[in-house]
């Protein structure tokens, strides 16, 4: 069986779902229950969350043939731009994933990315040879301190692997970062700068408390905190700013380090506040309850949404006369 996100199942026409935003990437999951024990994850070893959850999204199971053929069809009809495998850390899941990727490769030319606990450069090479166009090595934590608390394991090893992989396979390595695990904006942005300097693609997520996980009672990040990281990461990606020119107070970003007109022009249309990561990835409602705070917008922002996001940034404007 293969798990696919509820939104993906809707796109494939195998599940009824009411939604105002469909995924443009097929999100597929291999395995169940991870050998890692990340405190935020429903798949963690000690999590008592429902086993069909990843983040707040449900992942119903289907026959692989149905799903993979559906993905191939949806790519042909341009409903999907990419397929993304999320793999829990277990040897069964890795075997399953390799088989799924092979099967999909036979059926379709759809770009494929794989997010898994690959431990070596050889592992990354194997996935790329198999036909993945991106491999994501999830850092998740915004800094070493948070990594030690919420993921365990050795931060330095992950960084070294990311660096080596990005050097060996330029443009093909991505990472995931979860905002709101207790890191400061300065810590998160320093890490993002390091990733961008290595040539690693950065996908930002907002911490989402899930019942049954260790962090079920923790709050998601304040929207201002998230928006500032999104905005700064976007400006860094465009090469308009670097970590070194930004100013922080008590860990909070207070100045981008370039004239306000410049960053305002780059941010005003709202592109910075959309889902980030591999091309074609939009992950609708992965961190968001429909109708709730929109951390990552899955589609281009309306003028009103963009204005709201700019206000949420908390980078205060100079009032007009007569205000």
């Amino acid at each position: 069986m293969i798990k696919c996100s509820a939104g993906t199942a809707k796109v494939l026409g195998i599940k009824e779902l009411k939604t105002d935003a469909l995924p443009t990437t097929a999100y597929l999951m291999a395995g169940e229950r991870c050998s890692n024990d990340c405190s935020f994850c429903p798949q963690a070893r000690s999590s008592s969350a429902r086993s069909d959850l990843l983040s707040r999204v449900t992942w119903p199971s289907y026959e692989p043939e149905t799903v993979l053929a559906g993905v191939a069809r949806a790519f042909q009809t341009e409903l999907l731009e990419r397929a993304c495998f999320q793999v829990v850390n277990s040897s069964e899941a890795m075997v399953e994933m390799h088989w799924f990727v092979d099967q999909l490769r036979v059926k379709s030319a759809i770009p494929v990315c794989v997010s898994c606990a690959v431990g070596s450069l050889e592992g990354v090479a194997r996935l790329l040879e198999q036909g993945a166009d991106h491999v994501s090595i999830a850092l998740d934590a915004g800094c070493e301190r948070i990594y030690a608390t919420h993921k365990g394991g050795v931060w330095e090893h992950k960084i070294t692997l990311l660096s080596a992989a990005a050097m060996a396979f330029p443009g093909k390595i991505a990472t995931h970062l979860i905002v709101g695990l207790g890191e400061s904006e300065a810590e998160m942005l320093a890490t993002i700068q390091t990733m961008l300097d290595m040539g690693v693609i950065v996908a930002l997520f907002a911490f989402t408390p899930v019942r049954g996980t260790k962090l079920e009672k923790s709050a998601p990040p304040a929207i201002g905190h998230y928006r500032r990281i999104q905005a700064a990461a976007y400006l860094m990606r465009l090469g308009l700013i670097r970590y070194e020119v930004m100013s922080f107070h008590a860990g909070e970003l207070i100045d981008f380090g370039i004239p306000a007109e410049e960053w305002y022009a780059a941010l005003a249309e709202g592109e910075a506040f959309r889902t980030s990561g591999c091309p074609g990835c939009n992950r609708p409602y992965y961190n968001e309850k429909p109708g709730g705070v929109m951390y990552n917008y899955p589609v281009p922002l309306t003028v009103k949404q963009a204005e709201q996001a700019m206000a949420e940034l908390g980078m205060v404007e100079v009032g007009q006369e007569g205000d």
Binding site: A222, I223, G224, V245, S247, F248, H249, A250, G251, E252, L253, I254, D255, G257, I258, P259, A260, Y264, L313, G314, M315, V316, E317, V318, G319, D323
Partner: protein, 298 residues
């Protein structure tokens, strides 16, 4: 420069001249990473002030007897710190209850310099404060309506004046004036400056109201920038030889960029976490830059 009126620009020019007449061409920029900010009450505060609502306590380290100095040093790791801002929520009377933590504070004092937020402290407590405080950062508010609206305290400006006077006899005190505290409107700021002229100051710290999400003033605007700049210039002229600092609490973004630039033209002596443009301006104006790593009053 912003589109300030000719009058404001003239005022700023006079302020700049006053600064140059009384101080060397030097400005200090502080990046207070060597000052650990501590709350003695965790995230608890008996008041629910309109501008804070307890929000700023969440960003501080909680230190109590059971979570001691050793714990703090452990948390802080190798980075080290040389001083602490001792803060916390207030009790119903509007003071930070530091007395129950006195033994801890005495131990801290042996190793670190301490800056205190005390609020409307009792005279009997001031004697004890003397032993542990290097300096007190005292929010100085004299407008009764502001005190009522923001803090919901049944106290008057006179209580703030009396407390300031009493504190000043025992310990170094730097009054803090939050410009636009009354929901972004200027209310008693000028009167506060007048009173301080009579009372005397060792220096002045200006901070600027920040509309903070989740507080009663979340939807307000920061005070009109030109009005803030005028006040800074007037303060420079009223206190030509006393150090004037632009403190850490002020809005982010474009507002902060514009404020920092104008504050330099108004002749402030210190800016905490300046924007990058302000650092460039200081250099252009020929100001020698000194940098600090602690709270601006330390």
């Amino acid at each position: 420069m912003e589109n300030f009126s000719g009058e404001t620009k003239q005022l700023m020019h006079r302020a700049w001249e006053a600064r140059c007449a009384n101080f060397p061409l030097q400005i200090e920029f502080d990046y207070p990473k060597a000052t650990e900010v501590i709350t003695l009450t965790g995230t608890t505060c008996a008041l629910d002030c309109a501008h804070c609502g307890g929000h700023y306590l969440a960003g501080m380290k909680t230190v109590t007897e059971s979570n001691s100095l050793a714990g703090l040093v452990r948390q802080r790791g190798q980075a080290g710190f040389t001083s602490c801002l001792i803060s916390g929520g207030c009790d119903r009377a509007g003071k930070v209850p530091f007395l129950p933590q006195l033994p801890l504070l005495k131990r801290l004092k042996q190793h670190k310099r301490l800056n205190f937020h005390v609020g409307l402290i009792e005279p009997s407590e001031i004697a004890k404060l003397q032993d542990v405080a290097d300096v007190v950062s005292f929010d100085f508010v004299v407008d009764d309506a502001t005190i009522q609206e923001v803090y919901g305290l049944g106290r008057t400006g006179e209580a703030y004046i009396q407390t300031y006077r009493a504190l000043r006899k025992s310990v170094k005190v730097l009054p803090h004036i939050c410009i636009g505290l009354k929901g972004g409107n200027l209310a008693g700021e000028r009167k506060a400056l007048e009173v301080l002229q009579t009372e005397g100051v060792d220096g002045l710290v200006f901070i600027v109201f920040i509309p903070t999400p989740g507080t009663r003033y979340a939807d307000r605007q920061p005070p009109d920038l030109e009005a803030v700049v005028q006040l800074l210039a007037e303060a420079r002229l009223l206190f030509p030889a006393q150090p004037i600092f632009l403190g850490c609490m002020r809005p982010k973004g474009r507002y902060r960029q514009a404020l920092d630039l104008a504050a330099i033209h108004c002749g402030v002596n210190k800016i905490v976490v300046p924007t990058r443009a302000a650092v460039s301006l200081a250099t252009e104006l020929g100001l020698k830059i000194k940098t600090g790593e602690e709270c601006c009053v330390l």
